[in-house]
């Protein structure tokens, strides 16, 4: 939940330790099961918001986000944390945001155009955040401010923050690539293609071991 704030993440892990151990050791619940349970609760939250019950929907969304913390905690507790698990978690997070956003559109809290733009900005940021390590986390959390700030303004904030973070993220990835080109040196006229080749070689998966 707080991957970008490791100290806070560790503190929440410690506080929720007994619940995590109970869920995993006593009930045998896996991280992926918690991920999908969190998604289910969020879908219900989106439906409740769409029916016009904003506060009940926000409360359910909070339950979904709290559950979302436990999938990572269980994965760490059971030693099953993996890149595939983290990617599933990210994909489910995006689906959850889509559901909540469209619940709010259905409730007439925000226009479809603004919800689509905010969601597009979040998707763009997600597409580079693994490489740029930049994600300000300005997504569903902002929606809890709804009772005090108008939703169109909150969606504009989500759009702006994520779009700016995306542009900065692209530049961070570019700077990593520039360092690669500078390290390669040689003919400057062909350095981009040589650096692209070396990067592609590094990203290729290792060949699978042959069976006897």
């Amino acid at each position: 939940m707080f991957e970008r704030l490791p100290r806070l993440d560790a503190a929440v892990d410690r506080a929720a330790g007994p619940i995590t151990r109970f869920l995993h050791r006593r009930l045998g619940i896996t991280a992926d099961q918690v991920t999908w349970a969190s998604f289910g609760v969020t879908i219900v939250a989106a439906a409740v918001i769409a029916r016009g019950h904003l506060y009940a929907g926000l409360a359910l969304m909070a339950v979904g986000q709290a559950l979302d913390h436990f999938d990572g905690a269980i994965a760490r507790e059971s030693g099953s944390a993996s890149l595939a698990g983290a990617r599933l978690d990210t994909a489910v997070d995006r689906l959850s945001e889509a559901a909540i956003f469209f619940g709010m559109v259905a409730a007439g809290l925000v226009s479809l155009k603004l919800a689509l733009l905010a969601f597009t900005a979040i998707l763009l940021l997600t597409s580079v955040s693994e490489r740029s390590r930049l994600d300000p986390g300005c997504k569903r959390f902002v929606l809890y401010l709804g009772p005090w700030v108008a939703y169109p303004i909150l969606f504009e904030v989500i759009f702006a923050v994520n779009l700016i973070a995306y542009v900065i993220g692209l530049l961070i990835v570019d700077i990593h690539f520039q360092r690669r080109m500078d390290a390669l040196g040689g003919d400057l006229d062909t350095v981009a293609s040589r650096a692209a080749e070396s990067e592609a070689e590094e990203r290729q998966p290792l060949p699978a071991p042959r069976s006897a």
């Binding site: 733009l117 779009l163 990835v173 690539f177 981009a192």
Partner: protein, 145 residues
């Protein structure tokens, strides 16, 4: 292309389409100021090449590649104007007429291209375009006096 050519092309567009206020700011932002990434690359150039006059350094970034349309199009929709997209495409079209290496879709694709009209020397393309832009700007100013 040089900054002068980009300024002339943007100025021509601003005059041609009678842009005012915020649209003028957006036109110069996306027609000229996207070149700001050269300043971001400057420390790396100085570290790698130093103060020598060495041509061919990779000054580009995704800020002025087609991949930037992924954020410029949503921004244009948000602002309710085509000015950012239109002036950015003009900027791109001019840069892609120069023969140095470019990575249009990085970091999503490692494809490298040299753009178009690669058989014509860069100096000829830049010279012709510069002359056309100067004449067009002067013509517009003269006819609208």
């Amino acid at each position: 292309m040089t900054i002068v050519t980009h300024v002339l092309a943007t100025t021509l567009g601003v005059k041609l389409f009678h842009l005012h206020g915020r649209s003028v700011v957006l036109a110069y932002l996306f027609g000229v100021a996207v070149d700001i990434d050269h300043f971001i690359k400057l420390p790396y150039f100085l570290r790698s090449v130093g103060l020598r006059n060495k041509r061919g350094y990779y000054w580009r970034s995704s800020l002025q590649e087609p991949v930037a349309l992924l954020w410029i199009i949503p921004l244009s929709i948000f602002l309710g104007t085509v000015v950012p997209v239109a002036f950015f495409i003009v900027h791109l079209a001019m840069d892609y007429a120069v023969r140095y290496e470019k990575m249009p879709w990085y970091p999503y694709s490692a494809v490298v291209t040299r753009g178009w009209l690669t058989r014509i020397p860069d100096a000829v393309k830049e010279g012709v375009l510069l002359a056309v832009l100067i004449c067009s700007n002067v013509f517009l100013v003269w006819t609208r006096r």
